[in-house]
Every structure is written in C-alpha cells, then in structure tokens.
Amino acid sequence: MRGFLRKALATAALLALTAGAQAKETVVWWDFLGGGDGVRMKKLIEDFNTDHKDTIEIQATTLDWGTPFYSKVQTSAAVGAGPDLMTYHSSRIPLAVGQGTLTEITPEDMTVMGLSEASFAKAPWAAVHVDGKQYAVPFDQHPIVLYYNKDKLAAAGLIGDDGLPKGLNGVDNFAAAMKKLQDGGTKYGLATVTANGDFAYRTFYSLLCQQGGVVGGDGNWLPGDNLQKMVNAVQVEADWVKNGHAPANTDYPSTVALFTTGDAAMMVNGVWEVPTMTDLQAQGKLFNWGVIELPVLFDKPCTYSDSHTFAIPNNKGKPQTPEKHAAVLEVIKWMEDHALFWATAGHIPANKAVTDSAEYKAMQPQATYAPLTANMIYDPQSKFAGVASPLFDAAGNALTPAINGEVDVTTAVTEFRDTLNDLQ
C-alpha cells in the first residue's frame, strides 16, 4: 500500500511537471477598437495566436470606446480583475497614473523586448512618460487629416501637377475652394463633425497650434492671447457652417456618409477612417480619393494627434507572475514588429523600423500623409486632458453651440476656458 502511494504521488508530480511545461500562458487583452481598425486588430491577434500555438494565447475582448472603457479599467484594476494587457490612449496616461491604474514599464522590460527610445517617433515616446517614468509602449500615432474626393477636386481645378490638392492653404483660399466645389454642384465643400464640440476640438486645437498658440495646463488654460487664438480657430469652423460650406449639427456617422456618398467633397476626420475608404473602394463603391495633412490655414502646419499604446494595468493584489509578464512582453514586441499591417488601419506606426521600411513608404495614401508627424501636437500632460476627458466634455458643452451659430464664439471660448480653470 505504501509503495502504491509513493508511486501514485510520483506519477502525479511528474504529470504536474509536464503539464506545467506544456501549459499555455493566456494573455487577457482588452481594447476599444470597434471600427475598421478593430477588424484589423482582430486579424493581428489571430495571427499572433497562430504563431504561438503552443505557448501563448491572447484572449481578446473589445469594449466600448471612451468613458465606458476607462471606467471599467479603473474599477477592475482596483479590485485585481483587470486584463493582463490593454490598449490605452497616451493622452489618458497622466490621469491613469494619478489613479494608480497603470504598472510602470521598466527599462528591463524594454531591454527584454529589444526596444528603446531610439525605436520610436519622438512625440508618442514623450507621451507615454509621466515624471520620467514610462507607463506604456507606443503603438501608433493617429492625427486628424483631410480626406478629399479627387474627382470633384480635379473638376474644380484644385488638383496640382503632382496629383495632390492645391490652393487650400489660408482661411480665405480654403473657403474659396469650398465655394468653387459647391458651385460645381457638390452639396457641401467639407463635412466635419459639427454636432459634437468634443470631436471638433481636435480641429480647433490644430488651428490654435497653427497660430503658434498653446492650450495651457492645469489652472491656467488658454493663457494670455491664446484665448483670442482659440476664438480665431473656432470662428473658422463657425464661418464654414454659417456660409453653408459645412453642414450644421452633423454627427459622426453622417459626416462619413456625406463624404462617401459624394455630398461633401472633403472631410476632416481621423486617419482611422482610411480602412472605411479602402474597403468601399475594394467593393467598387467609391470615387477616387486621397488623404493629406490638414492645410495650413494660419501661419504654420500643425495637426492634433494622439497615440494608441499598450499598457499593463496595476491589478491590485494580483501582480503578474514572471511567466505571465514575459508572455505580455512577447505580445507587445510581436505587435510592434507587425505594425506594418496596423498601418492599413490608417494609423501611423510609432515603431520607426516600420515607418522607415520600403513597404510602408509604398503604402498609399498612408505614405502621403505620414510626413505630417513632423508637425504634430499632442494633448497637454494633464489629468483633465485626453480623449473623453473633462477637457473634451467642456469642449462639447461650450463649443458645440458656437460652431452652429447659436452662441457668439468669444462667449463660448471664454466659457470653455473658465470651465477648465474651475476643474480641480
């Protein structure tokens, strides 16, 4: 009997050992990518799982973008029920660090992944740091851009010899171009989200920066003449609406629909709509189109951008085991290496090895707008800034009526500044 017991124990131990060696590490993954880019991310995850059939499996869940995602991450991490790895907007990192939601990415982690400061574009690299510590690994840069209907612009004589739009720089020239397009029978010169001031903030911030203005920071928002510069920025869009160049009170889906149906000749939107156009064109349902950097309406080129990053939540009471942590780093590294496919989602990879590659430089329209990364501006590092933040909220509340001519622009921008300054 005793001999039997010993044998049984030995067998069990052996089984446990081999099982341990063969056990697949699972990485629970959360993201907020629900659009055309979400489809491409799912493909990347699938490919990863195939590549790591015996070692690592990503179990991915897509959650609702914005406030729902970030509330869930914050509350679940606080009780140790968060994922192992998640996508995160770099603009939301200061708030997350203040709430203790993120785990630091250590220099050793970076060494393990074979990545360093030199691997990344400058702006997204800076955006993942708070007080000198790194809290995420940048994956892409997603600025807003100008989409255009090449057929309509050509008919209006707005395409230059290089095949790219011309005559769009300067507030007056841009308005004249839109008028020309509308005279040619197009309903609107430009479609942009006019029903949501929080979305339009991306345009305003770009135009503010084009005047050399800054949005400021905690307790001192829009300091000095930046208030007037912001008024100028909002006024541009309010005038487009007033003069019928852009449709009033139009929400996001309608904006995309107006452009893709040809009712609007141009559209200001994020690079993430590139897959929508690519897919429609592949089905033969779209005109000739292109994407360029926002025109210089004021003094210098400048465009708002944000970054998707990979972050590890600080699951309270449940720190990652070394094996799990290694698997998570492997996932990040693999994604960074395969970011070329992510570029088909419109996003500009943060990994310089990818953007410097010949394949990326041949990718259209990505390669046309990618140089704008030299003129990007990110949200200020503040726990009130970032996507779906109090700053976005304040923009929605104060600036939406100004775009649509219900409130005087100066009054609206002053209210926007005061709301921000009251935050604590």
Partner: protein, 292 residues
Amino acid sequence: MLKSRKSEVLAAIVLAGPFVALYAWMFIYPTIQMVHLSFQNAPLIGEGTWAGLKNYTKLLSDRTFKTAVWNTAYFVLLTVVPGTAVALAIALMVSRLNGWFQSIILAMFFVPYVLPVTVVYILWDWMVNVQFGVLQPVIALFTGKPVNVWRTIPWFMPGVAIVTIWWTNGFSILLFLAGIRNIPKEIYEAALLDGASRTQVFWRVTWPLLWPVTVLCLTIQLILQLKIFDQVYLFSMGGRTQVTMVMVQYIFEQGFQRNNGGYAATIAVALFVIVVAVSVLQLQAARLRRGT
C-alpha cells in the same frame, strides 16, 4: 400557550430570517455606506478623508445640480402622466379587439419594451438624423428646416420623453388590459340597462374600477422616470451634457468621469430623499382621491 407562541416566533425567524439577512446585506448596508461616503472627500475607489458637511454645502450652490434636478422633474412631468394616459387609451382600444387580432396588435405595442436602450437609441437617432432621418421631412413641415433634435435644447427633453413613452408603454398597457379584464361584465350590462352613454360608462364604471391599476402604473412610472439616465446620456453624448443633465447622469459623471466618489454619493443621497418623498406623497394623494 406560551410555548406555542415561542415556537411561532422561532418559525417566523426561520422563515423571514434569510430574506431579512439578504436585504440587510444587499440593500441596507450599501445605503448606510452611501450616506457615510457622502460625508467624505473620497475617490471612486479607495479610502477617503472625512469632509463633514462640505459635500452638502457644495451641492446647494452647484448650478449643474440644480439643472439636473430641474431636468429630472421636467422629464417626470413629460412622461409619467402623459405616458400613463396614452397607455390607458391604447389598452381601451386593444380591449375592444378579439382573438388573434388582439394578440397581434398587443404584441406590436409590446415589442419596443423588449428592446435594449442602445437599440432604441440607435433607431431613433437615425430616424431623426439631421441629414438622412426619415422623420426630418415631418419636422421640416413645422420648422421649415431640418432640426437636430438632440442638439436643440428646447427639443431635447420632449424628444427623449416621446422616445421613452414609445419604449416603455407596453408594460403599462399590459397592466391596464389585465385591469380591464378584471371588471365584471355584469356591471357594464347593468349600466347599459340603465341607459348610460359610453362616456358615462367610462367615467362611472371603467375609470373608478381601474383606479388601483392607474395608481400602480403611475407609481411604477414615477420611480422609473426619476431614475432616468440611459436615454439622456446616449442622446446627449459629445454635445451639451451640462444643460441636459439629469440626476443619475450627474452621479455617473461625478463618480466615474471625475473620480469624485464622495460627491457622487451626496447627489445619490439627494436623489434617494427625493424618490422617497415623492413616492410617499403620491401614495397619499392616490389614497385621498379614493376617499379612504
């Protein structure tokens, strides 16, 4: 005698105990915690510091809170009585139908109630979309131009109220139908023999006999609509949320978006007090109306 009473008490404790324990744990304890939290300066998760009455004094001078209270009251006004009246009218009409035809019509009115709020939101958002909405020609008949209902402040609450009545009416209709079927046929026959007109039959027979159901509908609707959140949140996203704010939405904003757990609890306490006060008042009013 004494012994049997003792065993009765024991039986009562055994029978009621599990419920009382569960209720105390799941409802009373959190409520006490909420009140406790409202006296603290606390984040959404984690320990707070004692703040005394600071949250309450802040609440009294908070403009957004006043807007939220007003909007909630306005929404209740727009939905509770009108919604119940519409449900009663539909129930009276449906009750005149027979057989499978009645079932089909009833099902048609009940279907929206089964939908999740997100589906209701997307349906209506597209129907009144300012560029492509099928209802915009109807709106343009009155205004001369398309109107973005969810960005035009005077239109917002009535718009959400109509959507809510459309969405939640099925349940009230069912309650009313059950009530109508419970009224004995003999009373109607007697009324007809006495030569009562149809209006008289409604006001003298149907209405008083349906009154308990009406009170039930009104109470359910009142408590439900005081807690309005989803529809208002969805329709106002990205726009002028501060102007269209309702109370539960403000709790959500302060707690989940601004990380002010203590202040969110304070607003929740205020809502709790309002719900209790209004419910008691309504029950009292209903009792008066019945004359007992």
